[in-house]
Symmetry: C2
Subunit: 301 residues, 2 copies
């Protein structure tokens, strides 16, 4: 499970940095979180295939988090997509997208499902065999959601040649994945560890979108393996951060520490900062495992 | 007067080529024609200052011609623009922009004027001392406009040190620009050509946006110095071009020839073509002075 950064800047593109977008890869599926202007071009640049995208999540309706969405949706149609696409976003986006398609006389050539985000509380949005996504509210100038992406275990991993060697019928494979042994008709007890290895473990990635410093969603993101937390500003600009419902690098690190996370990804940098080294230094003073995200880079969760 | 290409591709960004946008520079003013996704980033890349943009023209409401507009409008506000901005676009765009601003709880911090384009015939949209812009209808799948940008002469150009040498009062300068001589009180007749040089000549740039091959707007663009004409396809794909209300390189050249233009800029290439040499070859067989536009390149009109 990894997160590829497509845009790490705040509202204004600057210094070659783009507005927010991230691709979370889980077992080959790509979950797109936010979709700032230029996302489809960034996906091309970094080799992310839209065919693997089935779910898009939009945190809130400030343009730097969704102005790339109409272009991406449209391009998928022009490129002949047939697989369904699920969009999870604040309800007010639906009439805007409808109008954009309508004035262009465009009918998407694939099934497109708009799922409005709740205005209160957490909600499990997707619960697939491979992963789940839950939204939670942050504290921003307008309604804004974070997303908790949880990779599920797929049980133990089969060693195909060993399974064949011990002549285990394919019908029994799912049971092997659960860790059970297999007793053959000739009485041999095939131990599970002879024919399987440990499978991928569950993982938690918490995307804490634009927000004031707040502990309100701490219970939801507790013990996440990786937390992304916005830090538009450095601590010296904490007043400006608060006035604009944003956070500082120090505050992001405090959240990661309180949440008992394993690592912290920083992003959503203000265009007033050309150099970003201070963001890492500031956060590392509080929490040890910090990455100042770089566009085109993938981070293991 | 020059045209800087910010995007030269058709609907899908491909091979590093972006969707349509052009900046026409006239006496330091920048006129933006179409505004595909990524235009604000392309402007940064090629050093075009939004402070010099006062007029934006959108040909039609297919996304590849305007999905960069909300981001640009928004960024100008975040960057503290105070000068008015005039947008000329199909009327249906206004409620979409209003909704985009409203859901973000954004009020632009500069005067923003939306001017709906007419649904029939030509219309003079801007008539400034320096330039005028007239729209004309093309033939596309949805309502679509081309734009004729005409640079006006500013009369003859003063040679300041000569004007001072002959002690001509500043109040007489505008009359000098009109080509008149000046008679001093001591009786000396200061010949106009002693104190002025030839000024910039009138120029015509015709932007022929997405369109079928049609001669319907030929009278409007007649004798243009430079014509931009879309050519999404090569002639071998002429059937596809017609079915999609687009043109071929051959057809673009035929229009340039019939319009008695001095040069032809080609753009809006389909993403099916990686190499573009054949577009030039095809057009040059009909019309001699052809440029296959390149992003970031400026073309003298």
């Amino acid at each position: 499970m990894k997160v590829t950064i497509l845009g790490n800047n705040s509202a204004l593109p600057a210094f070659g940095r783009h507005p927010t977008a991230q691709a979370v890869s889980v077992y080959g599926d790509i979950i797109l979180i936010d979709c700032g202007e230029g996302t489809q071009i960034q996906m091309q640049r970094y080799g992310l295939r839209w065919r693997n995208v089935h779910h898009i999540f939009i945190s809130h309706l400030h343009g730097d988090h969704y102005f790339g969405l109409p272009g991406l949706i449209n391009s998928m149609s022009l490129l002949g997509r047939t697989a369904p696409l699920h969009l999870y976003a604040p309800a007010e986006l639906q009439p805007i997208l409808d109008a954009i398609l309508s004035v262009a006389d465009t009918v998407l050539c694939y099934p497109f499902y708009f799922h409005p985000l709740p205005t209160e509380g957490n909600m499990v949005l997707v619960d697939d065999p491979s992963f789940s996504v839950t939204c939670f509210l942050t504290e921003h100038r307008i309604q804004c959601h974070g997303f908790l992406v949880e990779r599920k275990t797929r049980g133990r991993k089969l060693i195909p040649e060993k399974c064949r060697e011990y002549e285990i019928p394919a019908a029994y494979y799912e049971i092997l994945k659960q860790g059970r042994d297999y007793e053959r008709k000739d009485g041999l007890l095939v131990k599970n560890e002879w024919v399987t290895t440990e499978g991928p473990s569950p993982k938690k990635y918490a995307y804490c979108a634009d927000t004031l410093f707040t502990e309100s969603f701490l219970p939801t993101i507790m013990n996440a393996d990786t937390i992304y937390h916005e830090c538009t500003y450095l601590e010296k600009d904490a007043e400006k951060a608060a006035a604009r419902f944003h956070s500082t690098a120090t505050q992001a690190a405090q959240i990661a520490k309180k949440a008992n996370a394993k690592q912290l990804l920083l992003g959503h940098f203000s265009s007033k900062y050309k150099e970003l080294d201070q963001f890492r230094e500031e956060a590392e003073a509080i929490f040890p495992n910090v990455f100042v995200t770089v566009e085109g880079t993938s981070y293991e969760v």
